[in-house]
């Protein structure tokens, strides 16, 4: 069979191979796993595609999709691609302003939105989106009284497609034939840690190629399960979810709600799982929190055996020999504890567990590894696809593994990582200037600082622009400090601060309200709100221990000297974080400028009046006083 290199082509091949006999997608809804066979999915995609065609969708036109992971999401996406169109995936928590920019910039002709909430957002800005002709939705609750003529239901499109297909027999198959692997399948907006987001154009060849490359270092069979929980607006979802699903024929499992992922995953036992550092850190702190609440016996087993597992993990990760008694003890720990823990978090079958996005703290990494899960660091992006990943039994802390087959990596004189591969992005949409800057002589200039070691492992440090430098010219890695702090059960977020005008490093720390709250209750410390809890003396002492722990691993000059516990969380709605929950440093430094100045000026506390934005867009203010903590 010739190699198929288009997404709809793969869907068709699977349909011809398995038809009604195999399940393609499983979606948890109404508390049950609803199953859709390859035939069912193929028909949905076919009808929806022809429906869009009958509404006038032409090749190279764009369709925005906004909604949580649900079968309709993928059917709509595959349908757009089958019509040789391009999918512009949106984050569900994007505010109307962001949607206006991305949808308009990408020249979207149609918008497919999940529900009333998303449709309302589009209606708010519809006048500013003259190029959008139709808005289609697939979850009908609350939509009965919407009369806008450009609003259509998902099943209406399917019906239109069905009729169109009867009038034009064979047209869908013909369209699939016409797709070229170099057609642009998806448009991803870079998360925009710097300036306005750029739109990365990824071809079918690029997306499928990256997943093929991943398959050279791990296995996946049609019997296996994949979990679709990453936001589809992130390239990681395609590479580890829908594209892998089509390429191999593995079942795509979709959790009920974003909030139920941690539970639903235990029913799926996925073979592959990709998470950002925050997801993994979430898993680890969940285990710790549960252990803290468990009975005395469970706690005793954990306290006895977990150190053994950590010790063995440490030896392995450092490449040292594990002596026989330790091996024996580890086997015992595995039998009595680790297996249960893996099962409890749903990762007992995770062959290819990977972390990507930003740097994962060493402690978290070691903890997952100690559980018996080979957590591989993966290095990739919308532009470069999957660039490198650890091989099985060659997992090392501090590197992101060797380059995958078909990928070449070198380091420029400035210390920038350059990538050349068959499955890099095509170009930036409507931005030739950025394209010519990023793509030169076939190399992609990643903007990441790093180097390649003797064994060919790539070592990623940080974005070139993100390494911090103090007045003394000493460098420090803000992300390392932050992820070290976030490892604590009691810390949700942190930002390290320091630049050429500063003599030392400071930090803004966000407490984990749930866990600190529980700790406070157990210790009979009364508190009212987040603000109140964050400024308690007891909380300060609790967090101080964590800051000291991180400081111990740092050279003297790079240590955190002062920090504050912020009175609220960082919030994507206030542009504190990007949608993948990375910190927006410049915005944060602006917003908390006064606070930062106060830390460096040696003040002990600072009254603040913060503007907060409610979820409905209203604004309010909050007055409080923040204590500044100093470490010796």
């Amino acid at each position: 069979m010739p190699e198929v290199n288009t997404i709809p082509g793969l869907l068709k091949a699977n349909y011809e191979r398995w038809g009604d006999r195999e399940v393609a997608i499983r979606d948890k809804d109404f508390g049950l796993w609803q199953e859709y066979t390859w035939k069912g999915c193929y028909e949905k995609v076919k009808n929806f595609c022809l429906g869009l065609v009958s509404l006038g969708l032409r090749p190279e036109e764009k369709v925005a999709i906004i909604g949580d992971n649900e079968p309709e999401w993928f059917w709509a996406a595959f349908a757009v691609q089958a019509a040789r169109g391009t999918v512009v995936a949106q984050f569900t928590d994007a505010i109307p302003d962001e949607l206006k920019y991305t949808i308009d910039f990408a020249d979207c002709k149609f918008v497919v939105a999940r529900d009333q909430e998303q449709v309302d957002k589009i209606l708010d800005i519809k006048e500013l989106l003259p190029k959008v002709e139709k808005v289609i939705y697939w979850y009908y609750k609350g939509m009965r009284n919407y009369t806008e003529p450009f609003l259509l239901r998902f099943d209406q499109i399917e019906q239109m497609g069905k009729e169109y297909g009867q009038e034009h027999p064979g047209i869908f198959e013909q369209k699939i034939e016409e797709i070229s692997p170099d057609d642009i399948a998806n448009l991803y907006f870079t998360s925009g840690t710097t300036g306005l987001p750029k739109a990365v154009m990824c071809s079918h060849r690029a997306l499928i190629g990256s997943t093929r490359a991943a398959l050279t270092i791990t296995q996946l069979t049609p019997k296996d399960n994949l979990l679709s929980y990453l936001p589809p607006a992130w390239v990681g979802e395609a590479l580890f979810g829908s594209v892998a699903h089509l390429l191999v024929g593995a079942k795509l499992n979709i959790p009920e709600e974003p909030e139920t992922v941690l539970h639903d995953v235990t029913e799926i036992l996925p073979q592959w799982i990709l998470g950002g550092p925050r997801q993994w850190e979430g898993w680890v702190s969940q285990i710790r929190a549960r252990i803290a609440e468990a009975g005395a016996l469970e706690r005793a087993v954990y306290n006895l055996l977990m150190p053994i597992a950590l010790k063995v993990a440490d030896l392995k990760l450092k490449g040292k020999e594990v002596s026989f008694p330790w091996k024996l003890l580890y086997a015992l720990a595995d039998l009595l504890l680790l297996r249960a823990l893996r099962d409890r978090i749903g990762l007992s079958k995770a062959q290819f567990a990977a972390t990507a996005g930003s740097v994962l703290g060493e402690d978290t990494f070691k903890f997952i590894f100690a559980l018996g899960i080979q957590l591989r660091q993966l290095y990739g992006s919308s532009e470069g696809g999957i660039i490198s990943a650890h091989l099985e039994d060659d997992v090392r802390v501090g590197t992101v593994g060797p380059a995958l087959p078909g990928v070449e990596v070198k380091v420029s004189e400035e210390g920038e990582i350059l990538v050349r591969s068959n499955y890099a992005f095509s170009r930036y949409y409507k931005n030739p200037e950025a394209t010519s800057k990023a793509l030169r002589d076939g190399w992609w200039y990643s903007g990441d600082a790093g180097h390649v070691d003797e064994q060919g492992h790539i070592i990623f440090m940080d974005r070139i622009s993100e390494l911090g430098e103090l007045r003394s010219k000493a460098k420090y890695a803000p992300q390392y400090i932050e992820s070290g702090l976030r490892f604590s059960t009691y810390i949700k977020d942190a930002m390290a601060i320091g630049d050429r005008t500063r003599d030392f490093v400071t930090a803004i720390v966000i407490i984990d309200f749930e866990n600190v709250g529980r700790w406070a209750e157990n210790n009979r410390i009364p508190y009212t709100t987040f603000t109140d809890l964050s400024q308690k003396k007891e909380t300060a002492n609790l967090i101080r221990a964590d800051v000291e722990r991180v400081n111990k691993t740092l050279p003297e000059v790079a240590r955190v000297k002062k920090y504050v516990l912020l009175h609220k969380e960082f919030d994507p709605d206030e542009a504190d974080l990007t949608r993948t929950r990375k910190l927006k440093r410049e915005a944060l430094q602006g917003r908390y400028g006064e606070l930062i100045e106060a830390m460096y000026a040696g003040k002990e506390e600072l009254p603040v009046e913060a503007e907060i934005t409610y979820q409905d867009g209203r604004k309010g203010t909050l007055k409080t006083s923040l204590k500044i903590h100093t470490l010796q």
Partner: protein, 258 residues
């Protein structure tokens, strides 16, 4: 199935006394087939007492309650529930030890046809029946966006979520009239907006007429079609939200005599 002229519920000259305290004095009002009627008034005005009379918790001394043309003044609460009047409570009345799912399922007990033995054996008809009820309950969970907490004990839920479960339980009765007793009390702005949206969704999707007791005038203005104002057990005003806002008597009742 209305009394003819599009009126679902008619309350006529209702009087209710507790000893010397007159809780309700000659209160009359009508709920139309397609409306959300808000009842407002200061604390102790008799709002909850009125709801209690409607769904049979209290027996009024005088007057009549007519639901769909039928006099239900002397009916018991459970037979009124069977007729299709369902309510939520100011102080949430749920089984705190049961899950959200079971609480809403309990709201459907009126519809269970099979006997205890058949249900306990979970066999044949009883099984089919249970599955059908579960499907309806799952739809309510979906509607109110509480699927993630389906299996959580209600006692462990936040106040806002418990209120939502309480509404779910009321909906499980497939009511023809819904009485909501301060569904948004004690909530923050955001929870209130959520709740208001759910109430409007229920109204739009199911067309269920509602009687709503609420203090937040802003919300009443937003969602009610008509407003009735009670003060010391008497109806002092009735009309469109806009009229009520500018009504002298109402302002005096709320702000004290000027």
């Amino acid at each position: 199935m209305t009394g003819g002229n599009g009126i679902v519920l008619e309350v006529k000259n209702l009087k209710l006394t507790f000893g010397a305290v007159q809780a309700l004095a000659e209160v009359s009002l009508e709920v139309k087939e397609h409306e959300i009627l808000a009842i407002i008034g200061p604390n102790g005005a008799g709002k909850t007492s009125l709801l209690n009379c409607i769904n049979g918790f209290y027996r009024p001394g005088e007057g009549q309650v007519i639901f769909q043309g039928k006099d239900i003044t002397r009916s018991s609460p459970h037979s009124i529930a069977q007729l299709g009047i369902s309510r939520t409570f100011q102080n949430i009345q749920l089984y705190t030890g049961l899950t959200a799912l079971d609480n809403i399922m309990a709201g459907r007990h009126l519809f269970f046809q099979r006997g205890m033995a058949a249900c306990a054996l979970f066999f044949g008809w009883a099984r089919r029946e249970e599955i059908e009820h579960r499907r309806i309950v799952e739809e309510i969970l979906d509607f109110l966006e509480i699927k993630p907490i389906r299996k959580m004990a209600v006692g462990a839920l936040s106040y806002g979520l418990r209120k939502r479960v309480d509404l779910g339980r009321a909906l499980a009765l497939e009511p023809k009239l819904l009485l909501l007793d301060e569904p948004m009390a004690g909530m923050n702005r955001e929870e209130k907006e959520d709740m208001a949206r759910f109430i409007l969704d229920v109204y739009e999707e199911r067309g269920t007429p509602m009687v709503l007791i609420e203090h937040d005038m802003g919300l009443v203005m937003d969602i009610a079609d008509r407003v009735v104002v009670l003060d010391f057990g008497r109806k002092i005003a009735e009309g469109l939200p806009q009229e009520i806002r500018n009504n002298e008597k109402v302002i005096r009742a709320y702000l004290g005599k000027g």
